[in-house]
Amino acid sequence: MAAAAAGAGSGPWAAQEKQFPPALLSFFIYNPRFGPREGQEENKILFYHPNEVEKNEKIRNVGLCEAIVQFTRTFSPSKPAKSLHTQKNRQFFNEPEENFWMVMSKDGKPVIEYQEEELLDKVYSSVLRQCYSMYKLFNGTFLKAMEDGGVKLLKERLEKFFHRYLQTLHLQSCDLLDIFGGISFFPLDKMTYLKIQSFINRMEESLNIVKYTAFLYNDQLIWSGLEQDDMRILYKYLTTSLFPRHIEPELAGRDSPIRAEMPGNLQHYGRFLTGPLNLNDPDAKCRFPKIFVNTDDTYEELHLIVYKAMSAAVCFMIDASVHPTLDFCRRLDSIVGPQLTVLASDICEQFNINKRMSGSEKEPQFKFIYFNHMNLAEKSTVHMRKTPSVSLTSVHPDLMKILGDINSDFTRVDEDEEIIVKAMSDYWVVGKKSDRRELYVILNQKNANLIEVNEEVKKLCATQFNNIFFLD
C-alpha cells in the first residue's frame, strides 16, 4: 500500500540522504452526515486516495478517523484532534467546512530517540489546509458544489481536482515556509510603484470588464486587488504551478530562436499564460481558468487571465458571467502588451539601480527567514529557489527543525520574545518575535558567545530591516 504512493517522493534530495522522504499514504474527504446508518458508510466517502484501496478498508479508515475526532471532542469540544501519531503513520485532520473532513496520512518511521516534532505537525496541518484552499480557489466551496449538483457533482469535482493536485504534493520539501504561506513582495521604489499603480488603473479603465488586478514581477507580488487570503492562495498557485510551467522565452533574449517562434506581436513581449496561445489563430480558444474568491462574503466567480511580458506578470480577473472573446483578448494584447513591456524594463532598470545603491549584492553571511503575519510578507535567504518538487535549502535539515521548534514556541505565547539557540558545529539560531513579525537567523561563527551573536542580529536588523519597528 505504501508503495503505491511513494513514487511521488523519489526526486533528488541530497540534503536528506540518510532520511527516508516522507510519503503520502492516503488522503480522503468525507462527511459523516452522508451515511449515518449502518450499511451506508460508503456514502460518507467523497474522495479517497489511493483509489485502488479496497472498499472495506476505506470505510474502516474513515470510520476510525470519525471515531477519533468524536472521542477527542469530549475533551475539547471546540478543538478536536488535529493529528494522530502512531508507530507506523501520522494522520492530520481538518474540517474546512462544517461536517466536511479532510484527512491526510503520511508514513512515519518508528521513533528511535525522543524528538519533539511539532514542526512537522504544523507543517503538514498547513499543507492540508492549503489543499482545501487550492481546491476552493478553483472550485468554490464544497457546499456550493452540493447546492449546484448534489453529492455527485461534488465527488466529480473532488476527483478531478485532487487526482492531479495530489501528484504535485511533495511532502518531503515542506518546511517552515509552508506554515507561513507567505507572499514574497518585490522591493521597489515609490515612483516605480506609482507608475505600476497608474498602469493598473488605466488598464482597468480601458478593459472595463476587469474586476480585480494583481501585478507580479520576478514571481514576487507588487500589487493585489484581491483580498489578502485570496491573494495568498492565488500567489501560491502562480508561483508554484503556473509560472514554472512556462519556460521563460524572455530569458532567451530577443534574437534567439525561441523568441522567434513566439506567436504574436513583434512590437512587445506580452503573451497570455492562460487563455489563447496564438492570437492570430482565428480558432484560438479563449478559455480561462475560473477562480472563486471572497467565498465567505460575496462569493465571486471569476475568469483568471494571466498575461506576462518579460518578468512582469499581470492577472486580470473578470466576472465569470462575462465571456472574454478572441476580440477582447486581441484588444487586451494590443493595449497591455506594449505598455507592460515598457513597464517591465523600467522596473528592471530601477531595481538594478536600487540594488547598486543599497549595495545589497553582497550576500550577507547569515541566513534568515522573515515573516510578517500582518501582510504575509516573507523573505528567505535560506531557500535558494522554491519549486514545486524540491525546496533547495542551503542549511542542514536539523537547523530547519530548530527553526520549527522556535516557531512552535512563538505560537504558544502571545507576547513578543527572543530565543537564542546554540546548535551543533558553531551554529547559532536566533528567533525573534515582535508585534506579529517573526525573524529567524542562522549564524555560523567560530567560538562566538551569546553577546556577540546578539550584536550580530542587531546589526542585521539595522541593515536589512531598518524601516521596521522591532522591540528590543
Binding site: 521597489l188 515612483m191 488603473n201 483580498e227 501582510n375 519597528f469 522591540l471
Partner: protein
C-alpha cells in the same frame, strides 16, 4: 451662436470721449494710453482721458494753429504739442514751474518733423524725415538739450512704449526697418533688418505699409508683427502674420508665421500674450498662441488659430445722461466698423462714437471650444487670469457627465505640476541665493513671481479633490485612481506630497473597507511617513488590526528609537490598558503629544463613522 461661445469681448467700462468732428480733433497717445479731445485748437478746451484716470485732465491753450500731435510726457509732467512741421511746443504741468510755453525747432535743416515720442517724463525723441533727435527737456529752464541724433531717411516710424523701441522705415521700398532703443538718457541703435515683401504684379510698386506693421511684447519678448497679404501670384492659401523677434542684443530673426487662411482687411491686437487677428470682411477674430506647439520647419514655426473664428461678443452702448431717463433700450454697437482704429497692444478706438475699449479674452468659453485637454491646459496655463478656470476644468473632467479618461487626467495633472515645480525650484534657488548673501551683490536677484498658473496642492485639494471625493455616485475605483494619479504626478516632479492628500486616500479606502489596499500602499511608502498619518493609523486599529504595526513602523522612521518605544508604551497604556515592559522611564512631555495625536485621531474617526 450661443452667448457662451464668444471668447473675445470689449471691456465693460470704455473710456468715453467727445466724438471727432470738424471742431473737435481726437488724438491718442500710445505711451500713456490717453485720448485727447482738442476743441478748436485748444481754445475752447482740451480734455485728456486715460484708462485708469477717474478724473480727466482738462485745460485750455491758445489756438496757435492746427494741432498735429499732442502728448503728455510720462506722469503727465510736460505737455508737448506739434503744430508745425518744424517745431514742437512745450508746456510744463509741474507745480511751481512756469506754465509759459516754450518751443523747440528740429536741428536738422530742411527736415520735417513726422512726429515725436516721450521716452520718460523729461526725455523726448523727434522723428523727422531725415533722422531722429533725442532731447532732454529742462522744464525749470524752459529749454531742451539735444542728447543725441542720427541721420537717415525715414518714411514712417512706429513706437513701442513698453520696450522703448522706435522703429524707422527706410529705403524706397520702405521695408528696411531700423530699430532704436532708449533708456535713461541713452539711445542705442539696434541692427536693422529687412521685411520680405510678397511678390507683386510688376505694374504696382511694392512697398511696406505702416498699417501692416505692429510692435508688441509677447511673452516678455519684443516682436515686430508683419501682416503679409495674400498675393495672387504665390500659391499661399491666404494672408499670414509674420513675427520677427527683436532681441535686446543680436539680430532680428523671423520666428513664427501665423496662418490666417483667409484674405481681406485685417487688424492686429495682442491680449494676454495672444495675437488676435480681426477680419473685417467676416466680422470675426481668431487668436494665436506662439507658445502652443506648431509645425517647425527648421527655422520658422507655423501656427494655426487656437480656436475657430468668432465674433467679438456683441456690445451694447451704455446709455448715460438724459437718454437713460427716457428708458430707451441700449443701442447695440456696430462691431468691426470701418471707423475702428486699433492700437497695440489691446486698444480699439471708435473715433466716430467716442469710445476707447480694451480688448479682453474670456477663458470660460474656450474650455468647451478646445476639446483636447492637454492643449487646453497648455493654453490656459499661459493666461493671466487662469486659476479658477483651470480648477473648473479639473472639476469638470472628474464629473460624472464629462469624465475624462485616466491618461487625460494624468496629462492635466502633469502639466499643472510641471508649472508648480518650476515655481518651487525658482523659489528655492532664490532662497538659497539670499542665504548665500548674494542679494546685496546682485541686484538682478528677484523673488520669483507666483503667477496664477501655479496651482499648488492646497488649491487642487480645496477646489477639486475634496469635493470630488465626497461625490457619492463616483465609483470608488475611479476616485482612488484619480488620487493616486495626482500623487504619482507630484512624485514624478519630485514635489513633496502634503499629508492631507494622503489622508484623503486613506479616508476613501477606509470608507470602502479597502484596508488591504491601504496596507499595500503603506508597505511601498506611497503614503509618506508623517506623524499625523501614523496617528490616523493608530486610530484605525480597531477596524483593521495591522494598522497598529504600520503605525509603529512609521513612528519609528520618524522618531528616535527610544522615543518611539516610550510612545508606543504610553499609547498602549492609554488605549488598551495593556501592560508592557519597557526599558527606560517614559518621558513625561511625550504624554502631551500623545493626547494631541489622539484628539486628531478621534476627529478623523468621527468623520469616518
Amino acid at each position: 451662436m450661443g452667448e457662451e461661445d464668444y471668447y473675445l469681448e470689449l471691456c465693460e467700462r470704455p473710456v468715453q470721449f467727445e466724438k471727432a468732428n470738424p471742431v473737435n480733433c481726437v488724438f491718442f497717445d500710445e505711451a500713456n494710453k490717453q485720448v485727447f479731445a482738442v476743441r478748436s485748437g485748444g481754445a475752447t478746451g482740451v480734455v485728456v482721458k486715460g484708462p485708469d484716470d477717474r478724473n480727466p485732465i482738462s485745460f485750455r491753450m491758445d489756438d496757435k494753429g492746427e494741432v498735429k500731435c499732442i502728448k503728455f510726457s510720462l506722469e503727465n509732467k510736460i505737455l508737448a504739442v506739434q503744430r508745425t512741421s518744424k517745431t514742437v511746443d512745450f508746456c510744463n504741468f509741474i507745480p511751481d514751474n512756469s506754465q509759459l510755453e516754450y518751443t523747440q525747432e528740429c536741428k536738422t535743416k530742411n527736415a520735417n518733423i513726422l512726429g515725436f515720442c516721450w521716452t520718460s517724463s523729461t526725455e523726448i525723441v523727434f522723428i523727422t524725415d531725415q533722422g531722429i533727435e533725442f532731447y532732454q527737456v529742462l522744464p525749470e529752464k524752459r529749454s531742451l538739450k539735444l542728447l543725441k541724433s542720427h541721420n537717415l531717411n525715414v518714411n514712417w516710424y512706429m513706437y513701442c512704449p513698453e520696450s522703448a523701441v522706435i522703429l524707422l522705415s527706410t529705403t524706397v521700398l520702405e521695408n528696411v526697418l531700423q530699430p532704436f532703443h532708449f533708456r535713461a538718457g541713452t539711445m542705442s541703435k539696434l541692427p536693422k533688418f529687412e521685411i520680405e515683401l510678397p511678390a507683386a504684379p510688376k505694374s504696382t510698386k511694392p512697398s511696406l505699409s505702416e498699417r501692416d506693421i505692429a510692435m508688441a511684447t509677447i511673452y516678455g519678448q519684443l516682436y515686430v508683427l508683419f501682416l503679409r497679404h495674400h498675393s495672387r501670384t504665390s500659391n499661399s492659401t491666404g494672408a499670414e502674420v509674420v513675427l520677427y523677434h527683436l532681441p535686446r542684443e543680436g539680430a532680428c530673426k523671423k520666428m513664427h508665421i501665423l496662418k490666417l487662411n483667409r484674405t481681406g482687411k485685417f487688424a492686429l491686437n495682442v491680449v494676454d500674450n495672444l495675437v488676435v487677428v480681426h477680419h473685417q470682411d467676416t466680422e470675426t477674430s481668431v487668436i494665436f498662441d506662439i507658445k502652443l506647439r506648431g509645425e517647425f520647419d527648421g527655422s520658422v514655426t507655423f501656427h494655426h488659430p487656437v480656436l475657430p473664428a468668432r465674433s467679438i461678443q456683441p456690445y451694447q452702448i451704455p446709455i448715460t445722461g438724459p437718454a437713460a431717463v427716457t428708458s430707451q433700450s441700449p443701442v447695440p454697437c456696430k462691431l468691426y466698423s470701418s471707423s475702428w482704429i486699433v492700437f497695440q497692444p489691446d486698444i480699439i478706438i471708435s473715433a466716430s462714437q467716442g469710445y476707447l475699449w480694451n480688448l479682453q479674452v474670456k477663458l470660460e468659453p474656450i474650455v468647451n471650444l478646445l476639446p483636447d485637454k492637454g492643449r487646453l491646459m497648455d493654453f490656459l496655463l499661459q493666461r493671466k487670469e487662469c486659476k479658477m478656470v483651470i480648477l473648473s476644468v479639473c472639476s469638470q473632467m472628474l464629473s460624472e457627465s464629462d469624465r475624462a479618461s485616466l491618461p487625460v487626467i494624468a496629462t492635466v495633472f502633469d502639466k499643472l505640476n510641471h508649472e508648480y515645480k518650476k515655481y518651487l525650484d525658482a523659489e528655492q534657488s532664490y532662497a538659497m541665493a539670499v542665504e548665500a548673501g548674494q542679494s546685496r551683490s546682485s541686484p538682478l536677484l528677484k523673488r520669483p513671481v507666483r503667477t496664477q498658473a501655479v496651482l499648488d496642492q492646497s488649491d487642487v485639494y480645496t477646489h477639486v479633490l475634496s469635493a470630488f471625493v465626497e461625490k457619492k455616485e463616483m465609483p470608488h475605483k475611479f476616485v482612488i485612481a484619480v488620487l493616486m494619479e495626482y500623487i504619482r504626478s507630484l512624485n514624478q516632479f519630485q514635489i513633496a506630497v502634503q499629508h492631507y492628500l494622503h489622508e484623503l486616500v486613506i479616508k476613501t479606502l477606509v470608507q470602502h473597507n479597502l484596508f488591504y489596499m491601504l496596507h499595500q500602499f503603506l508597505q511601498y511608502h506611497v503614503l509618506s511617513d508623517s506623524k499625523p498619518l501614523a496617528c490616523l493609523l493608530l486610530s484605525l486599529e480597531s477596524f483593521y488590526p495591522p494598522a497598529h504595526q504600520l503605525s509603529l513602523d512609521m513612528l519609528k522612521m520618524l522618531q528616535s528609537r527610544l522615543k518611539t518605544t516610550c510612545f508606543s508604551i504610553q499609547y498602549s497604556a492609554f488605549l488598551n490598558s495593556e501592560t508592557s515592559v519597557c526599558e527606560g522611564a517614559p518621558i513625561s512631555h511625550q504624554g502631551n503629544t500623545v493626547k494631541n495625536m489622539l484628539l486628531f485621531s478621534n476627529r478623523f474617526l468621527e468623520t469616518k463613522l
